[in-house]
């Protein structure tokens, strides 16, 4: 508390001192007084070094802009390496610029004198004057400030750009919409409908909705067949898995990776039970329990799609997913997929 108070006092004094100083400057300007009261000796001026510092800052800004360009274009062969190179260059140039600025441009002087305790205000004014006058030897102060500001701003922007990939803020409606409707057939990558008899045990299939885009979040399915006697589905899903064939959204409910791993025991008595596993963070879902999370960071079960086998023996959807598809976001549990 005391420290806070002292800090506040210091800031106040500095601000006050600055204003007084300015007023004094104006007053003295009238009487023709100049720099007779300078506290800091006018040091050597080195406009060349200043230009160099400005150039370093601008290089930092250029590297940060290059990061933004690489990030947004997604067209470069070694994109991830370029991320690292551009960011490292931006911070490297900024750091180099600051070091040169501190060592070559700003005058440095070591004072071994305690501030007199009673004269806080006076000392503050003096400190403010020193700060003010230290800059006088810099000939291109505005350029330096502008270049430094540009570097800082550009790096800040570069740091913020990846946040754009986090997803929509307000417009979450498309995330809830899926192409699955009752009666829609399950097809493979080439658009050929899956027949129930083609779905074998101990392996997994990727399925898409017939006549809809394969590229929307809700379209991709993972289909497995289990022994119907081993299913432990929730009661309201009793008829969702004809012949033990189950379909789930292939998008992990944690971070949205494709659930591309299917582990199945070769010999169930001594080996782990079947599991749909996401390769990103090893969230593991139990298909026999209707996609329940059994391991990993996922917070919600994998959405299950009700299936039916039609007269021709082909697989058809029988409605929409059991719960919201896609990765977790604010309010994901509030509404059902449409």
């Amino acid at each position: 508390m005391r420290r806070l108070w002292q800090g506040l006092l210091a800031v106040l004094t500095l601000g006050l001192g600055r204003r007084r100083e300015r007023r004094r400057d104006e007053g003295e300007g009238d009487s023709g007084g100049g720099r007779g009261h300078d506290l800091v000796e006018p040091g050597p001026r080195n406009p060349g070094t200043e230009l160099g510092v400005a150039a370093l800052f601008l290089l930092a800004a250029a590297s940060a802009v290059a990061f933004i360009v690489v990030y947004s274009l997604e067209r470069f062969p070694a994109q991830h390496e370029l991320f690292g190179v551009t960011l490292a260059a931006a911070f490297g140039f900024l750091g180099a610029g600051l070091i040169v600025l501190a060592r070559r441009v700003l005058p440095s002087e070591e004072l071994e004198e305690d501030y007199p305790e009673e004269e806080h205000v006076e000392a503050g004014i003096e400190a403010a004057t020193i700060v003010e006058e230290s800059g006088r030897s810099i000939t291109r102060k505005r350029l330096l400030t502008a270049a430094g500001g540009t570097a800082g701003g550009a790096i800040g922007l570069a740091a913020l750009t990846p946040a754009l990939s986090l997803g929509p803020w307000f417009h979450t409606e498309p995330l809830r919409r899926t192409p699955w409707r009752a009666g829609r057939r399950l097809v493979d990558r080439e658009g050929k409908p899956y027949r129930a008899e083609e779905i074998e045990r101990e392996t997994f299939y990727t399925a898409f909705p017939e006549g809809a885009s394969h590229r929307t979040l809700g379209s991709m399915l993972v289909v497995v067949r289990l022994d119907p006697a081993r299913l432990r589905l929730p009661r309201e899903r009793a008829d969702w898995a004809p012949e033990g064939i189950l379909a789930f959204s292939k998008v992990c409910t944690h971070a949205g990776c494709a659930v591309g791993l299917y582990r199945k025991p070769t010999y169930p008595p001594t080996q782990p039970p079947p599991g749909l596993v996401c390769p990103c963070h090893y969230s593991t879902f139990d298909p026999a329990l209707g996609g329940e999370v059994v391991f990993g960071p996922a917070g919600r079960p994998l959405p299950q799609l009700p299936l039916a086998i039609d007269g021709a023996g082909e697989l058809r959807a029988c409605g929409n997913f059991s719960n919201a598809i896609g990765p977790a976001w604010w309010g994901v549990n509030l509404e059902k997929p449409s």
Partner: protein, 264 residues
Amino acid sequence: MRARHLLLAVVLGALAIAGAAHAQPRSGVARPPNEEQLPLRELGSQLYAGNCSACHGVDGRGQRTPRKTTEGIEGQGPPLRGVGARSVDFYLRTGYMPLSKPDEQPVRRRALFTDREIRAMVDYVASLPPPGPPIPRPEPGKGNLAEGYELFTEHCAGCHQVAAQGGVVTGARVPPLEDSSAVQIAQAARVGPYLMPKFSEKDITDAELNSIIKYAEMAAKRPHNDGGWGIGNIGPVPEGMVTWFIAGVAFVLMCVVIGSRLRS
């Protein structure tokens, strides 16, 4: 909390793998005394009875309930009827079988049997009814590398990684493919050992399998690392750790450099 659980699981998994590697049987292979004179089928039958039947049952009928064997192992295993030469050859040549405990993951190690013994056992188990699939003869030379890359990404890379260096699936270690022969990759794809799914010829045709093997052999033996250092090619966790260690040291050094006073 979850993250801590995962870490614990990974550490325990690593320890379990290390433990399993030590717990392999001390070449407890039972061999008939007059091995050389026996015809192949007869040798296979005797080797099966001595080394496999405790878990896989008499005549490959399987062992449903655990039973004590002479070495104190609780024997329990799936029936082998109808698995065919494809599966037996794979499990014996990779050293996956025999397994010291029925509930552990089989890992690749030196095969405990000679080539003739393996051929004998393959011949014997394949002769048990019903007939099973033969040993595949893949021809990766006929494959297409680009197609293999796409198919490998789609079907295999989830577990084995796109660099074919293996990794982890919850509950098991995924083996790297660098020591696998073309025939073994083909066998594993069709058989699906341990927790691996099996892929029928409808999922992956023999021609596609050739391409996959061609890619896997290229990727596993000559991984290309744009960053300069592959760090074992086993994924983001070790890569992140290395980054932190190197970046952390560099960060401290930078602080020292910046914080030091000019000596002038």
